[in-house]
């Protein structure tokens, strides 16, 4: 009972298949109240399907687990207390901005949304577009309008599918600030992203789904701890410097000025440093845990080709 109050979303052993394709496989997940939960994973791996199931747009396979949102088990009605920003923008092009927002707010059961609409448009710098048709908006503007439609009615849970994709840094900052403020007010936020840096910086919890299976779930710290301190960031000045030839280096991520080396287990970092010093002038040497980006790639890369085919067959559903 106590647990139910703390978790806004509880997914228990849920499976969702489309024909032969298993989009989500025996997924169990709990999203605590007031947290920001990041969903990551390659395209077509089941993120959007999971989000749509939480939104009750899709229903899990019959007999396979249950989803409880805000303590409710309902399988028919979408909850008015959940806001949703879909991956692709869904706005009526021929309607005025304020009309679309009013329509969406009324569908969420809000009877007098006009003052809220004005204040949100003002905050997003869109007040002058209030009476313009949606079709004249730029991509970033319509993204912000869509965001407003998701959070306008002050839902307890906000689900954002790729909220920051395709935004310029200024607008991305505006949205990020808005998301953080939602959390400060106690709203629980679930968002999916391909931007690992954003996930690392913003999320209290990170969940990674790969080919329909949960592969990561927890705080960034707990996830990184699983991989240990096997990563070294170095900057070495020297001709023909190639870290891949150094014994004990399993993998190199070359960022240009900086290189990230992954050590094989049982490699001594001091040995590595002395090896590096033999090859050039070491300007930077940092023993660190793997980045989320690196962890993501470690999980998803080995079967990049297979992923491509999942992406194609899953595109119709994801």
């Amino acid at each position: 009972m106590i647990r139910r109050q703390m978790n806004v979303v509880e997914i228990e052993n849920v499976t969702k298949t489309f024909g032969q394709h298993v989009a989500v496989n025996s997924l169990t997940l709990a999203v605590p109240q007031g947290s920001i939960y990041g969903f990551i994973g390659p395209n077509g791996s089941g993120k959007t399907t999971t989000l749509r199931m939480i939104m009750r747009i899709y229903h899990p396979d019959p007999g396979a687990g249950a989803i409880r949102v805000l303590g409710e088990m309902s399988t028919t009605a979408a909850s008015d207390r959940v806001g949703y920003l879909p991956e692709e923008r869904g706005l009526y092009k021929k309607m005025k901005v304020s009309e679309v927002l009013r329509f969406y707010a009324q569908l969420k059961g809000h009877r007098n949304p006009n003052p809220l609409i004005r204040s949100w448009l003002d905050r997003m710098g869109l007040l002058e577009y209030s009476d313009k048709k949606v079709e004249v908006l730029s991509k970033g503007m319509s993204q912000k309008v869509q965001f407003i439609s998701a959070v306008l009615t002050e839902p307890q849970l906000v689900i954002l599918d790729e909220p920051f994709s395709g935004l310029d840094p200024v607008n991305a900052d505006v949205l990020r600030e808005a998301v953080l403020e939602l959390r400060r007010k106690g709203t629980t936020v679930i968002f999916s992203t391909h931007d690992m840096a954003v996930a690392e910086k913003m999320c209290d919890f990170i969940f990674m789904i790969y080919k329909g299976n949960k592969v990561l779930d927890g705080t960034l710290n707990s996830i990184q701890d699983r991989y240990g301190q096997d990563t070294v960031r170095v900057r070495v000045e020297g001709d023909n410097f190639d870290a891949r030839t150094i014994p004990g280096v399993e993998k190199v991520n070359d960022f240009g000025r900086l290189q990230e080396l992954r050590m094989t287990p049982n490699t001594n970092s001091q040995m590595l440093l002395s090896e590096l010093m033999k090859r050039g002038r070491v300007e930077h040497f940092e023993l660190t845990r793997p980045s989320l980006h690196d962890i993501f790639v470690r999980i998803a890369r080995p079967t990049a080709e297979a992923m491509l085919s999942t992406e194609q067959s899953g595109a119709a559903h994801a």
Binding site: R52, M55, I57, V82, P86, R89, G90, Y92, L107
Partner: protein, 439 residues
């Protein structure tokens, strides 16, 4: 239900605010006003230039009378109005006698044709030598009209009438009959077209009224055509709006707030409202026009509620089918091919229209009007043709249409739910049936 109504109100407002809807509403009065205006403008602008017609009279006995008739027509029949307002509205026919002389007919015909090409003549008539001889079969005696303006029929018609009258007169005289007496004896009588004699409340017998053939045919036809037009104008845009919601991913936002079935029903209710609005505007306009012209008694009050009821059912039936198609396909091109069979169903009453109007009470007409896709339109036709039909027939028809509409709405609801979130290629018809059956 509240959310369904919110969807309905949006669908309604968006539809009635479109330019197409406003133009469609204005179309009828515009067209009516326009034809009156054009008629008024054209009236004063008839080409009243003299029409010159050459006559080659091989009998030598017809031209005099023909010319006299032309002069009489030119003096009186081509004017309208009295006194100062008297105005020529038709062209004068000026006849010119051409002697056959020694030229043979073929050459003469060529010469006269050339004069028409030069613009000296409008037409010429060749009257064969034997036309007065009653013993000849009609094919053997020639009476030919030549011109290069085949669509201008007035002169030919006038000539036909006057020449035949004169030939008849000459034939009768030749046979020693008095043409006057013969005319009197052979005069035709019109047959009156009456309704039925009735008895009023106080027992007086009311004489049957003359029926109006035009009204008897036009009213049912107009009612059916209005229904057809409103169905087409309001239901086909549902396909577009559903397709927009699907391709623009609006559906996903909507479905996050409202279950698919309620969403679809909301759209249908909105469109029923649009069609009722449209029908009301048109019917009001039609009544106003009839009333003004003094024909208010022809307005079909007795079947107006049936009309509106059947219209709503037809819109639900066809609207749900169009929504299902919009949800199942991925673009307009795919939609077109699926629309063809539905369109055939909508226009099917048109194919049997003539038969149903002629024999509204026949068993075949009854059977056809109980076929749900055709019921709304055919039932209305049969109801508005006197004496109407027994009331159980439209009731049975309505029950069948309601059942059909329910089947369509539920099947469409299932197709809608599956199709609306599918991206990529559109569904085949077989797939749509599978979704409809399995849910």
């Amino acid at each position: 239900m509240r959310k369904t109504m919110i969807v309905a109100v949006r669908e309604y407002l968006v539809s009635v605010k479109t330019k197409a809807f406003v133009i469609g509403l204005l179309m009828m009065p515009l067209m009516m006003g326009g034809s009156i205006l054009v008629g008024a403008l054209m009236e004063g602008r008839v080409d009243t230039k003299d029409k010159r017609i050459a006559v080659v009279d091989s009998t030598g006995r017809l031209f005099e009378g023909l010319d006299a008739a032309a002069r009489q027509r030119n003096d009186s029949a081509i004017f309208q109005g009295e006194g100062a307002a008297r105005k020529q509205t038709l062209p004068r026919f000026v006849l010119e006698k051409v002697d056959t002389g020694t030229t043979d007919m073929q050459r003469l015909s060529l010469q006269l044709s050339d004069r028409i090409r030069k613009g000296e003549l409008m037409a010429f008539v060749l009257i064969g030598p034997d036309v007065i001889d009653a013993g000849k079969a009609p094919g053997q005696s020639t009476l030919d009209y030549y011109s290069n303006t085949p669509t201008y029929n007035d002169a030919r018609q006038w000539l036909t009438g006057v020449l035949n009258e004169q030939i008849q007169q000459l034939r009768l005289e030749g046979a020693a009959f008095d043409p006057k007496v013969v005319r009197q004896l052979t005069q035709r009588l019109p047959v009156g077209n009456l309704g039925l004699t009735e008895m009023d409340a106080s027992g007086n017998i009311i004489r049957a009224v003359e029926t109006n053939q035009a009204a008897n045919f036009l009213v049912p036809f107009a009612m059916m055509f209005l229904m057809f037009m409103v169905i087409m104008a309001t239901t086909t845009p549902l396909l577009n709006s559903t397709l927009e919601e699907k391709t623009q991913r609006i559906a996903e936002v909507l479905l996050a707030s409202i279950p698919p079935f309620e969403l679809m029903v909301g759209k249908l209710i909105g469109i029923v409202g649009v069609s009722l609005t449209m029908a009301t505007v048109y019917l009001t306009g039609a009544y106003a026009a009839l009333n003004r012209a003094g024909y208010a008694q022809f307005f079909p009050w007795q079947s107006i509620w049936w009309f509106l009821g059947f219209l709503c059912l037809a819109v639900l039936m066809y609207g749900s089918i169009f929504i299902a198609i919009g949800a199942a396909v991925s673009d307009m091109k795919e939609a077109q091919s699926m629309m063809t069979p539905v369109m055939l169903m909508v226009v099917s009453p048109m194919f049997v229209l003539q038969y149903v109007i002629r024999e509204p009470a026949s068993t075949l007409s009854l059977m056809m009007s109980l076929f749900p896709p055709a019921t709304p339109m055919l039932m209305i036709i049969r109801q508005t043709i006197p004496p109407g039909i027994p009331v159980w027939q439209p009731i049975l028809g309505a029950v069948l249409v309601i059942l059909m509409s329910l089947v369509c709405v539920f099947a469409a609801g299932r197709i809608f739910r599956v199709g609306i979130l599918m991206q990529g290629k559109g569904a085949k018809i077989s797939e749509m049936f599978r979704w409809a059956l399995r849910g």
